[in-house]
Amino acid sequence: MRVRIRAGDADAFGALFDEHADAVHRHAVWSTGDPAHAEDVVSLTFLEAWRIRGTLHPDGGSLRPWLLGIATNVLRNRRRAARRHSDALRRLPPRDTVPDFADEVIARMHDADQLAAAVAALRALSRADREVFLLCVWSELDYASAAEALGVPVGTVRSRLSRARTRLRALTQQPDSVEQGEHR
């Protein structure tokens, strides 16, 4: 797979999308709290992956850490990524041309409050700590994969995660200090 991706095989990218688009989408929703923007992040992540495919190491396991790392970079500077792929984004199909089936629509409304509360809690963390928390805890990467995704040493992942957990624990024990109030 890595060899085909590096070689610029569009079918292999289609398969990569099938396997990981949902994980990238979830990660983007958790980071932004906004499902509409998250779709752009999904497209930008795969377009960026295509652009930098030559830098992918030919050996290795799952490509999820690589993609979530690219997604993290896109999320850090979405405007730059959007500028780079502005032509492609202009051709992105508008959201309304296909119907949302009712079950999906209602589920979306149902989950929105829970999402907003959780995202608000994470805003209390620094960006670096939040990225590690999202990758390790919610996206369930192991330390080594998160380190690969972020391009930092494993030790850094450990210390950031530990700091994130301490901070979140402190916040949940002292609800007054949570600025957004709502979260338990």
Partner: protein
């Protein structure tokens, strides 16, 4: 890695399957962009040649579904008639229980799943004129009362196959029908609730609410009172109009309740005599980058709605 003191990952609604497919299609198109240029000019040649060319394209690009633009006549909408039609539909829904609405009554005979069979086709947009998929069958199983797994069976055109073979996919954690149709029976209350839910999502609120009602009508079992309330609420959306002489994806003639959002018109199609829900259609009413006025973006025809005992079971008929 579980930590009881850290907030648990909040649920994220999955990308709707059709939207996911559209994003994937867009991605693969973008990656192939330079080689696709010459194919786009083929769309200008006559239909017969086009069919051959597209068939050849399928051999060359096994991912590309056999799709072609479909252009229909854009009929003049009748705004004045919409309120009257929707009121008559509402009266028919509550006045004559049973066959006239074409819907099974509230008694579900102990079944656990709603089964809806339809013929549908959606377009792929974003690379020249919108190309409509071949009309294909869609079957869905939705839990009636309890949140849980449902499933859908349809061809998934994102899979490289020769011809479209239907496959079944699980739909995890579905909202049960009972919750979808748990709505106020008072049209004003219903409308207020829908506007509240759908305002501020970046879309025009009127078309968002029209779309929301269409979403509820499409694949569900709606009690007559709520059905009537949905029609009466729709009558109050500004710029709702009637379009006559339309056909659904199965070729059945009907009358449409329509709403236009910028260049797109969305129609719910009903049988003109019985007011049975037949299907939907949406198309461009102006020339845009996605095609000339009349280019169809999606259409459907519901052919069967029934309650079945098990996931995957089909009604006896």
């Amino acid at each position: 890695m579980n930590d009881p003191t850290a907030p648990a990952a909040p649920p994220v609604p999955v990308l709707p399957a059709v939207r996911r497919q559209a994003l994937r299609h867009h991605l693969v198109n973008e990656l192939r962009r330079p080689v696709r240029r010459s194919r786009r000019t083929l769309l200008l040649v006559p239909a017969g040649v086009l069919a051959v060319a597209l068939a050849a394209g399928v051999v060359a690009h096994s991912l590309a579904p056999v799709s072609a633009p479909l252009v229909v006549t854009v009929a003049q909408g009748d705004h004045g008639a919409a309120t009257l039609l929707l009121q008559r539909m509402a009266a028919a829904a509550t006045g004559e229980p049973g066959p006239s609405t074409g819907e099974p009554g509230p008694s579900t005979g102990g079944g656990e799943y709603l089964y809806v069979k339809s013929r549908v086709a959606y377009s792929e947009v974003g690379d020249g004129p919108a190309r409509l998929q071949p009309v294909h069958e869609r079957e869905i199983w939705i839990p009636l009362f309890h949140r849980g797994d449902g499933q859908v069976r349809q061809p998934f055109y994102d899979v490289p196959l020769l011809g479209a073979i239907p496959s079944t996919r699980k739909l995890p954690d579905m909202t049960p029908n009972a919750q979808v149709v748990d709505l106020p029976a008072d049209p004003d209350e219903l409308l207020a609730k829908l506007y509240q839910r759908h305002t501020g999502q970046g879309n025009d609120p009127d078309s968002a609410v029209f779309t929301a009602i269409g979403d509820i009508l499409r694949e569900s079992l709606v009690p007559p009172q709520i059905r009537a309330a949905l029609y009466r609420a729709a009558a109050k959306i500004p710029d709702v109009e009637v379009v006559r002489g339309v056909t659904d994806a199965a070729g059945r003639p009907g009358i449409a309740v329509a709403h236009t959002d910028r260049s797109w018109r969305h129609e719910w199609i009903f049988d003109e005599r019985t007011f049975d829900y037949l299907g939907e259609r949406s198309y461009l009413v102006q020339d845009t980058v996605d095609g000339p006025a009349g280019t169809v973006l999606g259409m459907s025809a519901v052919t069967q709605r029934a309650v079945v005992p098990d996931l995957g079971a089909r009604p006896k008929r």
